[in-house]
Amino acid sequence: MKEMKRYTTIVAVLVISIAVAAVNAAAFAYRWMQVSVEVEGPGEARGAACVGFYSSSAQSGIPLPYAGTNYQATTYGTNKISVTPGLEICTWSSYRLYESITVNVPLTVGSWYIKDLYGFGYNGTSGSTKVYVWIKVEDAADESGIDYAELILYDARTGRYVGEIDLKTTELQTTTPISLNPGEALQLDLRIRASTTTTASFKVGFYVGYSAAEQPR
């Protein structure tokens, strides 16, 4: 009877061990997400998708407020600003809005102001609604020798001051978003002061959506 009891204990331990091993090694709960992304061409872009960068000087007659007139301006001597547009993300007729711009600015020690460097506008179509633009500095111009660097926004239609973005701080810069109705645009100015010779870079993200309440991450 005593031996019987010992065998029973061994068998029970083996059964529990097998059961535990089975649970930890081989059992999965399976879930899935199926995503279908349909990418239309820029000619089909509507609403927030048709908000981007442009220059009235580079695209004569573009039906958006006059902006981006100084994208090739001389800063000093014979040195000029250069602006290289990125991907075309919204096109209509012979006009286009760009996803991004890459800006090279030659300056000298001291303070500088660059007026209406480029435009950022919203080409509305039938049924287009107001959009909201959140601006976030993703790479700050925090190099030594840069005393301040600011992106200043003006309403391209009215000339009204809209706000300014501190390019030396990496964070979301707009606590409330900038609203753009179809056909409206911003003029982008730059103000920089350098106390020594240096090279500085920055990257600013523009998040365009339909909600004034929810911030982008």
């Binding site: 100084n70 800063t75 996803e99 500088w112 950022f120 870079s201 990257k203 523009f206």
Partner: protein, 500 residues
Amino acid sequence: MRGFVFDILVMLLLMFMFLVSISFASVYSYRWISGLVFVSSPVVYFSDPGTPNASVSLENHGTKALVTVNVPSIDLELDKRNAIFYDTFDINPIDQRIINLTCNWSWNPTAKAMQIAANQQAMTYGGECIAVADIDISQYASARRRIFVASLVWRTAFTGSGTHHFDVIYISTELSRLYTIGFRNVPQTGRTGDSITSDILYWSTTGWRTIASRSLGRSTTTEYLYLSYVTSWIDFSSWTAYHWNATLLNSGSIGSGYRFTPNYVGIGYRTSTTRVSGTVYFDNLVVTVDAYPWLVNVTNVPLGWRVVLRSAAGGVISTAIAGTDGVASLNVAPPKVDLTVYPNYRDGFIIASGTIEVYDDGNNLVVLKQFDYIIGGDVYRFNGFRGYVLRIDSGVAQPFQTHLTLTQYTGCSDSYIWIYLMNTTGILSTPITIYRGFATSLSTSVIVMRRGVSGIAGYIYVVAYVPKGARCSLLMEFRYSFSNWATYGINIVNATFVGV
């Protein structure tokens, strides 16, 4: 059944809100700017122009300037006295400062003037009664300078007839030669004017020679008991003699045979007859070199400001408005004064205890100062600062537009400051203006600068009037653009003007 329908509606609403939040809240189209900034050494920067009273310190490669200007505080100072002799004859000058050469000149303590009886004739010098200032003027004549002599003159009524000369004289006591310049008067009955002639004559030891003579017709200029004056000068460079009274009356070239170098100047009287009674008075004798004795100039006065000269009694003697040269010229020749009404009027060529006042163009009194004697030919300076406080250099050949903007100012009470930009061709901008302590113009106009000799493109030029002890600080932005203001650089100017 109704409850079921309500539940369905609530569910549909919740689903709709959920869908809306899904589609509007979380989707953004993403755009971006990538920027690259290349910062080089400045091409437009400040330098110290080395102006006295202005100290400059530079920071950030010359893109920021700290300027301190010690401004001589607002005041009036005698800058130059061009009179080499002056005397109000308030104290008997005879044998002290005046030498009687011919006739019996005396001093009248009541009139406080030199006097001579109208019937006196000298035995020498062609009959000219002469009293001279005890100062040798030969050095000025030898140096070919202009020697001016001015004196008040008046007379009592004459009884009898004759011709009378009221002169100032230039004499060589060594050569016994003489020039007389003045009025030849033939009295007429009453006080309605005499027949007068302007005469410039030369006494050659053997006789009178006329250098220039001009009839002035009937005039009350030397009528009895009218205060008048004789003013003359001889230019010993061109050898030309002049007679002036409110305007140039007469002038003549001194011929080579008539030339001599005088050693004294003074006053003269000559009559054609001894059968006349009356008295001739001379007062306020002034001798100047290269300066009109009927003018007192106040320099460094802003354009359009008013300068007023007052007598000791407070009456206005003269008023002048400063021109673009910053000079206000006060006329100190006396008006024709009726001495039967104002018997003691003597304010001409010398203003004893006179006051000079300077008013801004808003008619605010800026400074007032009394002087013991204000003498014709004097030059007074309205204290302030004028000069370059910063030099603007350029390291590139391209021209650029510039302007200066005032962004902040403090402590400028009662100060007047004008700040200009100037390029190397002399073009001046309109100024930033601090007027009685307040900024009335915040920006200059735009001017174009271009690198010139030694890299100099222009200057910041300042005119400042600051009260003693005041400390006026200005923060300004010097803006320059190579692209018609599409882009512009900003250099900083921090300027302090201290009244010392």
